[in-house]
Symmetry: C2
Subunit: 596 residues, 2 copies
């Protein structure tokens, strides 16, 4: 087993050079946020992650959360004390706003910290993530009374939160939600069955606050008839103490491929008189409230792709540096990292991990600008860009994580297939990330539909113009520092993305099915190019620092090599992806159902 | 759960149109082999596969083989009766030569039959595969006495066989084998520890015949000092009855990601006086004997990639045709197969499965020609082509299987992550196939080293010339039937492979590490192009049959669409792969170990 070491140098470099940390720290109200403080926070988080969270991951996977007759769920071994310490030391509350009891740090900083939890244990990290999403939804949409009753304990982690969307007959199609809510005095009686409820039941916290989508008696059909209700596991008395058990129960948990430490509950609401629930937001406006959680969750699942990939990379690297086997071809390397193909796999993992980090941190930085830049004319385009990139962060990072965690197993050879080695755990955990919070297909449909074609491509065009300007500048100015090759490669990627974009915009009105047939390849192409742009910017910064005589020359030179590797091995796929987008739909839609 | 239906129509079409079934049936000594007989064999095998083998797969995965104190292993539930029926009905013996008690059928036919076992249960099928490999090694290299004692029972499946290569310190590096064999009268005393021994211990058969690599006392170092020994679990008396327990034991079995029904044993030889073993072949020539097994096994593992992919495709297709969810965009499709992205995933799976089958069957057909064509000037190039394609069948098919089984999970959405759905089983089982019998990296090194550069590229050049001729002809002749587009696409693939080949040949002497850094992308490129060629040939045959007014027009038209889909979605990756081979090595080898 390898041990986790947070890649602090890489993280800080990406936060500064593409996340815009300095500019965010210079925003009004951020006077207390210095680079030193950020570094100190990251160092403390790294200690907690490596010392507390990483060690519970493999044992938690092996045993998993356990369901008992009587509808209780025991958390995986070791989770209890670590969760308690996580709350007591303030890490649980950290990402929340100051007025809610959190640290009020920029999203960029809490993103880097969250990456560490996700690296060390996806299963464990999901509990906080779901609670945080529920906190956001309540903070934005609930009454003052509900906020006062629930938020302080949820932010602190004393109570946790869930998101109850999916029903057996309604997976991603929320229009088909059937759960009901009937008014009764100041509250409602909620009934229905929900599945795939992450951390829906467990014994880590005193109470669990379920946010539940259901229909009021007078609700119109479809997604415009869904309302959001808060149903606590234990009802809360006026003095804040816990009262009676609500009429809801976890009737089973799923037996899954991965994230065994995260209980995935089947929740039954209203087997008796109906679960008492409180309306959040306006009647029939539940979807809007839920989107507050979902956008947060989508960026966070993208970050899971990064986190689990970083961990799989560290695990494979440790093995490749230690395991001696056969005669190596790379001078100076005695272990299997000296075999060119093992080196290729590790470089591929490293390049994709750094590309994911650049994309996730960039988007987090844009979110901070969108939220609190003093100039509204800056905030608006940043917000549009975040909306454009949300499905890309989610879809692209999680797809890259499939390859990275797969390679992590492959580097181990036969040992990779043995569970005790630990490499397969990351592959199994990563497998959910392209599915939950909307599959890659759903992200891609959002990207080509709502985020591209329905707004005429303005937001992507603005981004493409920025990429083209940067690439052109690098070609011109890079000759001196020898980085013009990066500009050339980037320009090719930009052209491929631009071509595919024109094709989709021209095709959408007449052939929507053809556009959606190319949606996932388009999402991958977008991710390849935008992340490539950010890696090139990191390389440009590294070249400048090298020219200025910076001390960490090995680190900076590696940034240049890694960017070039990405160009040669990943960005080289762009022409193929463009071809699939532009010419692939005919055969995708070419067979009848019976011909499959 | 879906049920398996062997794709007999597809199988027979590929056997005839690219496997060369008619020509093989016309070989001398094959007078009894008619198309009707082949079809009848396949139909019977399909019944046994679907009725007996498929149903034990999921329960066998859930419980797995179990090791007990006392060094016994209980096979997974249901395996016992099915194995017995498998032997009694002659399916176990079927692939062997007539003189050994088998059916003496062409490899092409036994390949199609084996595909079915692999589709229905990789774990179960491994027992026969290992035994068959041991039978081949014994038949080629052992004394008449040993052959007479062991082969009849092994062919019948009454006794099973294993391959004992790997040791804890020697994974793929057989030069590091340390197990010892000391002469004692007419036999040897063997001692050492072997790991990853597939079906190394179980209760399905009366005896287990271990083929073990070990060193004689006077052995030179390295791979030239390894000899092969036969060590039976129970010693065999002169009358063929079973005698004393030999000094060998299964000290544990592995806890693996997949193939739970296949016990992967740690074998300890000679904890007492040493296991009695009999030398197979000449002293120090064990590697050559083992290669007889390994080449057989490599083609078979490639076939596993096909088999598990076909099954994953059938499983996903059944779900996509049944599950109703959301508003579909494809006219006439009410279930999720009407969502363009789900359709894209299924088309991708279908196209890759058919491409794998074409490649595996083509190679099996070449093996038959190499073995028994009447003309030696035909046999020799066929043998060279089989040797060239063996690492491609193994490496490329198993890599495609990763994507296909992954998509199989993705098509199921959230249900795919739940073990009871069964889709994840195929992903977990498939994961071993790029590792055992030599990782993809090892296959690729064999391809670019021994099979390409060290022989100056003659065999691949001959193949490329054939592809180019076919492509050029199709461009010229295909205009009438509207299939010239397939010729154009193929030509592009051939050019990419040709360019990459020239690069490797020119680079090998001066920069072997750079060549091996591009080995896996080159193997993928080779597989893409050669399998694409065969799909195009299938399409060409389909077009001709359509023009002749064949009855199964829907099936034949689907062959054309599938080939075109492969061209647009898979062959379009070739230019990117060529770029990686030609320009990717510099950064792959660009960092020091410390910079990772």
């Amino acid at each position: 087993m390898s041990t986790y070491a947070a890649p602090l140098h890489d993280m800080l470099f990406a936060m500064k050079e593409v996340g815009g940390l300095d500019a965010i720290a210079a925003q009004p109200g951020r006077e207390d946020l210095s680079a030193d403080l950020v570094e100190a926070i990251l160092e403390e988080a790294a200690k907690f992650a490596a010392g507390q969270v990483d060690p519970i991951n493999a044992p938690g996977d092996k045993v998993g959360a356990r369901w008992h007759v009587g509808h209780t769920v025991t958390a995986a071994p070791g989770y209890g004390p670590v969760y308690q310490a996580f709350c007591e030391t303030g890490w649980h509350a950290m990402p929340a706003r100051t007025e809610l009891g959190g640290q009020g740090l920029p999203t960029l900083v809490s993103t880097a910290v969250a990456e560490m939890w996700k690296s060390c244990s996806l299963a464990f990290s999901l509990c906080q993530m779901l609670t945080q999403g529920a906190v956001e939804a309540i903070a934005h949409h609930a009454s003052e009374e509900i906020k006062a009753t629930y938020l302080p304990k949820m932010v602190a982690g004393t109570w946790t939160g869930t998101m109850n969307l999916t029903e057996p007959q309604a997976g991603s199609d929320l229009a088909a939600v059937r759960s009901k809510a009937v008014p009764e005095g100041d509250h409602y009686r909620v009934s229905g069955t929900k599945i795939f409820i992450t951390w829906g039941e467990h014994d880590l916290a005193e109470n669990i606050i379920h946010l539940v989508l259901a229909r009021l008696p007078d609700a119109p059909e479809g997604v415009k008839g869904i309302s959001l209700f808060l149903c606590p596991k234990f009802l809360v008395n006026a003095d804040g103490s816990l009262g009676a058990r609500n009429d809801l129960a976890c009737t089973s948990i799923e037996h899954k491929l991965g994230i065994h430490g995260s209980p995935t509950a089947v929740m039954s609401f209203g087997d008796g008189p109906g679960a008492i629930g409180y309306l959040i937001g306006q009647p029939h406006q539940g979807l809007a409230c839920m989107f507050t959680m979902m956008n947060h969750a989508r960026l966070n699942v993208g970050l899971e792709g990064l986190g689990v990939s970083e961990r799989a990379y560290q695990h494979a690297r440790a093995y490749a540096l230690e395991r001696v086997q056969g005669r190596t071809l790379v001078a100076g390397s005695r272990s299997i990292i000296g075999h060119p193909d093992v080196r290729r796999m590790l470089m591929d993992m490293k390049a994709r991990v750094e590309a994911m980090r650049a994309l996730a941190y960039y988007t987090a930085g844009q979110l901070d600008r969108a939220a609190s830049h003093e100039d509204a004319s800056v905030r608006a385009p940043c917000q549009s860009r975040v909306e454009l990139l949300t499905p890309v962060v989610k879809g692209w990072c999680t797809e890259q994580a499939q390859r990275v965690t797969w390679l992590g197993v492959q580097v181990h050879g036969g040992m990779g297939f043995i569970e005790e080695t630990g490499a397969a755990l990351y592959l199994r955990d990563a497998r959910i990330t392209t599915i939950y919070e909307g599959t890659t297909g759903i992200q891609a449909n959002d990207l080509v539909g709502r985020k591209l074609c329905r707004e005429g491509g303005h937001t992507l065009d603005a981004l493409l113009a920025e990429l083209r300007t940067d690439a052109t500048r690098m070609v011109a100015e890079g000759r001196a520092s020898g980085t013009d090759d990066l500009g050339h490669s980037l320009l090719q990627g930009v052209q491929a993305l631009d071509g595919a974009t024109r094709h989709l915009l021209a095709t959408y009105a007449a052939q929507p099915a053809a556009v959606h047939a190319g949606a996932v390849p388009f999402l991958l192409l977008t991710g390849h190019v935008v992340a490539g742009w950010l890696l090139v910017r990191l390389a440009e910064a590294a070249a400048a620092q090298l020219a200025a005589g910076a001390a960490d020359a090995d680190f900076l030179r590696a940034k240049l090599t890694t960017a070039r590797h990405y160009m040669a091995h990943v960005l080289s796929e762009c022409a193929g992806l463009q071809a699939v987008v532009q010419t692939g739909a005919e055969t995708t839609l070419g067979l009848t159902d019976a011909q499959f």
